[in-house]
């Protein structure tokens, strides 16, 4: 009875406005769409100027804003798009349609634009939006990549230029969540995780949400990357082609105002001498994305998303190679949205499969067979009133994990054969409202799988300080109910391997991280800036035991421990306009990330104390534009060699170990974990583009870029191999030397993009 009564009371507070001048407040409903395609724009900032209220658009571009006095003016801002202003003279039951045009040069437009005279919506705390136009302005490596484009966000680092895995604020990439149109996918990577598996031409925007997210988001410890797919224009067929030295991508879309479809396909084939590892690398992949958007009464009402990718490296039939694939099918439908009540239903199924034969894993070689399948469905409900908005959600599904590791040589990895199936469900409740000039949001989320469940309370608040300056803060807990364990430093090997563990079973703890973050956003004219302070503390964190851990009593390949980290991010951007078509973004990050594996706090292996980035773009006339990206980071920690020992071999005739004669093997004895630091890394990427009109009014862009044009050191140090010629007595090896994990020569890229 208490629960029913409580829910009813909440309904009164939310839907009836808690008795606060309900009659005086009216809501205005609307949708924000792309002016060119008509597709919905998620995450746009909608502000009612006189009412001093701001909201962000939902996944289907919809918004509801409450206004006390008419007339008012609605302003819509979105990263990478021109501002739109719509006067609202009187209350209306009609749905306001706001088209937004793209701005021409948007390299630095990744900082959230602060609303004027209103509190920032709480959803914006710790969130960055990267329009694909911004991503394209970055000098590409082979081609534009949706995950590598996150280099525009100061919260994200990558272990080296050979990794597309986003490390968010000092937590491993496997502890974040990657979604396509809001649906979770696993291991969205091609070729040793150097590229993402999502075709850039199919994306419209990438949103990075740092932790803690709202209660609506689960399944992540560090944050989430949400890739929004393109929406087709209605009316006529449109499409394009993107060609690089190694890849070909094509996309097309069209349909009616009520049903429109978009599809993109990409294929790549490498059979070239690899710049990093000597030898021929036969490799190819294909990926595919498609969506269908359904609209009712001129409003987007539902969307179906499909994604598939497959990779083929070397040839398993010939003894060594890898094949992996990803599948996703998801659908979302807005059953109800009358301004006060909303109901969304969704369902998704995704599958990741990985088969590897004789792949390198540290000093051993493995056969791997991994399967991850998840089928889930859920509902999200919203009650909206003038004073607050309540959101509830429930989802249920099954998750199936199969993880088989068969070592072919060596004894470093034990054979693993896990086949787990779990029923999982989650629920959340969240209340969002205004308190004076501030906006607040409080919610709680429960994730459960099998016998394990975790409550995750989360709170966010934003307060406008001055015109153009907004303070935001968030605290909350995140958790994951399974662990995806991979080598944090798999480069430069092209092959990779993963282990999956069910959290809460078999001695595997449930990873839980508590976060706190504060953002100060400032906009003034063409300048936009964000200063963020963040801190986190976690437990139940799992990692693959490093080679340098030389304690024999611990034989398990994994280790569990705690994490802590924190830092400061500063980003300042200058945004040009059509008259001054240039843009500059400068960011600096001071951060620290540590782990405690049962002894003492030690630096995390991917911790980078200082990070500096400069991204700039400029247009030269109507046709030419150029951009540069510079990144410098302080060195990553590594474990130094304390000494060298000569390992003896057993004497076949029975004398224990033989050291004075027979073969010996030099081996390192490592010092304190991560107590040394690599020297810093730096790289400069350059790009130039020439845009022109092609046949049939098509738009063409010819691009040339160079990755690591400065040919600087881009990888951390590691000790060279402990080895000497055992057959030649007296041959000495000099002192232990440290070498870069790899050297990356300048990588040129030539691209041709055709849109029609």
């Amino acid at each position: 009875m208490t629960g029913v009564a409580g829910t009813f009371l909440l309904y009164l507070v939310v839907a009836q406005g808690g008795g606060v001048e309900v009659g005086a407040l009216r809501f205005v409903r609307g949708i924000v769409v792309d002016a060119q395609t008509g597709g919905p724009i998620q995450g746009a900032l909608v502000t009612a100027r006189n009412a001093a209220r701001a909201v962000t658009t939902d996944r289907l571009g919809g918004f509801t804003v409450w206004i006390a006095r008419f007339p008012d003016t609605i302003t819509v801002l979105c990263i990478g798009r021109k501002r739109a202003t719509v006067p609202v003279t009187a209350p209306s039951s009609d749905v306001l349609r706001v088209p937004l045009e793209a701005t021409p040069l948007v390299l630095s437009d990744v900082i959230v634009i602060a609303p004027a005279n209103a509190a920032r919506p709480v959803e914006d705390v710790g969130r960055w939006q990267v329009p694909m136009a911004s991503a394209r302005a970055l000098p590409p490596a082979v081609e534009t990549d949706v995950l590598r484009a996150l280099a525009l966000v100061p919260s994200v680092t990558f272990s080296t230029p050979l990794s597309a895995r986003p490390v968010i604020r000092g937590l491993d990439a496997s502890q974040s969540s990657v979604r396509i149109d809001g649906f979770e996918v696993l291991n969205l990577y091609h070729l040793g995780r150097i590229f993402s598996a999502f075709p850039a031409d199919a994306a419209s925007q990438i949103t990075l949400g740092t932790a803690p997210p709202g209660a609506t988001t689960g399944g992540t410890l560090s944050g989430s990357v949400d890739i929004n797919g393109q929406t087709a224009q209605s009316g006529h067929l449109n499409g394009g082609l993107d060609l690089s030295l190694a890849s070909l991508a094509a996309w097309a879309g069209g349909g009616s105002p009520s049903t429109r479809g978009f599809a993109a396909f990409r294929a790549i084939h490498f059979s070239v001498v690899n710049a990093i590892k000597p030898g021929i690398v036969p490799y190819d992949f294909q990926d595919f994305y498609a969506n269908t958007l359904f609209s009712l009464h001129g409003r987007p009402a539902g969307r179906i998303t499909a994604f598939a990718s497959r990779d083929h490296l070397f040839d398993r039939d010939l003894g060594t190679g890898m094949d992996w694939s990803n599948l996703l099918l998801g659908g979302r439908w807005q059953v109800l949205d009358d301004g006060r009540h909303g109901l969304n239903l969704w369902a998704s199924a995704n599958r990741f499969a990985e088969d590897a034969a004789d792949v390198p894993a540290r000093d051993t070689r493995l056969d791997v067979r991994n399967r991850f399948e998840r089928v889930a469905a859920g509902a999200d409900a919203t009650l909206q009133g003038p004073a607050a908005r309540a959101t509830f959600g429930l989802s249920a599904g099954t998750r199936s994990i199969a993880n088989r590791i068969a070592p072919l040589s060596g004894v470093e990895f034990a054979a693993t054969d896990v086949d787990l199936r779990r029923f999982e469900w989650s629920g959340y409740a969240e209340l969002t409202g205004a308190l004076g000039r501030a906006s607040f949001q409080g919610g709680v989320r429960l994730d459960a799988a099998g016998p394990t469940s975790v409550w995750q309370p989360r709170t966010r608040v934003t307060v406008p300080l001055l015109p153009g300056a907004v303070l935001g803060a968030a605290v909350g807990r995140t958790a994951m109910l399974y662990d995806l364990v991979s080598d944090p430093h798999s480069e430069p090997d092209l092959a990779f391997y993963d282990f999956w563990l069910n959290a809460g079973e078999g001695g595997v703890p449930v990873p839980v991280v508590d976060h706190g973050t504060v953002d100060l956003d400032v906009t003034h004219g063409s300048l936009a800036g964000r200063v963020s302070l963040f801190a986190s503390r976690g437990r139940g964190i799992v990692e693959l035991r490093p080679v340098s851990d030389q304690r024999a009593e611990v034989t398990a390949p994994f280790r569990f421990g705690r994490s802590r980290g924190g830092g400061l991010e500063v980003q300042v951007a200058f945004r040009g306009d059509s008259a001054r078509a240039n843009a500059v973004s400068v960011s600096y990050v001071l951060s620290r990330s540590q782990r405690d594996w049962g002894g003492q706090w030690v630096p995390w292996s991917l911790d980078r104390r200082h990070l500096f980035r400069l991204d700039a773009g400029r247009a030269f006339g109507k046709h030419w534009s150029a951009s540069i990206a510079f990144e410098a980071m302080s060195g990553a920690p590594f474990t130094p060699v304390d000494g060298v020992l000569l390992v003896g071999f057993p004497d076949p005739t029975g004398q224990g170990v033989r050291r004075d004669s027979g073969p010996v093997r030099p081996a390192y004895v490592y010092g304190e974990e991560n107590s040394a630091k690599s020297s810093g890394t730096a790289r400069l990427d350059l790009a130039a583009r020439y845009a022109f009109t092609g046949p049939g009014k098509s738009r063409m862009t010819l691009g040339f870029s160079v990755l690591n044009a400065g040919y600087g050191p881009v990888a951390p140090l590691r000790p060279n191999d402990a080895d000497f010629d055992p057959s030649a007595t007296g041959v000495l090896q000099g002192r232990v030397r440290y070498e870069r994990m790899f050297n990356l020569p300048p990588v040129p890229t030539l691209t041709l993009r055709i849109e029609f």
Partner: protein, 212 residues
């Protein structure tokens, strides 16, 4: 810093321990032993019944220490002592006897080793409770020259041998955890508290292979 390497082998009446200095990371190194002065080395083997047997330096072989003790399969042993003022302790359990099921006979016909011209594969299957890894060595019985060796975790599979002529010795070792973690991986794991090193144990079996 000193390093100790002690592998107890069941059935042997003498147990060997090597104690030497590790090479500083900024020094050149070769294969030579950098022995620790025996005057600062005290090592004792603690038998399952609690008796303590000292390891004594081998005259003329710097770094080598010998304890006169017969180690038995399944027994639990400890190592105690001090090197250059650093006290240390370690424990190990000797695996059970290594029962070689394949190849079954004492003498193996080289024709059963199948494969290429230089190397061939010989099936094996064995068991030893308490063992986590296995090593094999192919060596000339007269010169003790080691020809090939390998390590594996599976108690069944194939081992790779070098095709030869005449009769050669095949030695198999069943290793417990400490020995496996030190001798069968590229970066050895230490099992001695106080200083870095190995205190492991093994049981041994032999076959003779007669090449056609």
């Amino acid at each position: 810093m000193p390093v100790i390497q002690t592998l107890l082998v069941a059935g042997d009446s003498q147990q060997i321990s090597w104690v030497e200095w590790r090479v500083p990371s900024d020094s050149a190194f070769g294969r030579e032993v950098r022995p620790v002065d025996p005057a600062v080395v005290q090592i004792s083997l603690i038998l399952p019944n609690g008796a303590s047997i000292p390891f004594l330096p081998t005259p003329g072989v710097p770094g080598r220490f010998v304890a006169a003790a017969l180690v038995v399969p399944g027994g639990r042993y400890a190592l105690r002592g001090a090197v250059a003022g650093l006290t240390f302790t370690a424990e190990t359990s000797v695996p059970d006897s290594l029962a070689v099921l394949v190849p079954a006979g004492d003498t193996v016909d080289g024709a059963t080793c199948v494969g290429g011209s230089f190397f061939c594969d010989l099936p094996y299957r064995w068991s030893a409770f308490g063992a986590v890894a296995y090593m094999y060595f192919q060596s000339q019985h007269d010169t003790l020259q080691m020809q090939t060796f390998g390590s594996m975790r599976d108690p069944s599979g194939v081992m790779t041998l070098l095709r030869d002529t005449g009769t050669v010795r095949l030695t198999f070792l069943a290793l417990e955890e400490n020995a496996a973690a030190f001798m069968t991986v590229r970066t050895p794991k230490g099992s001695v508290s106080g200083i870095f090193g190995m205190f492991g144990a093994a049981t041994r079996a032999e076959r003779w292979i007669v090449w056609p």
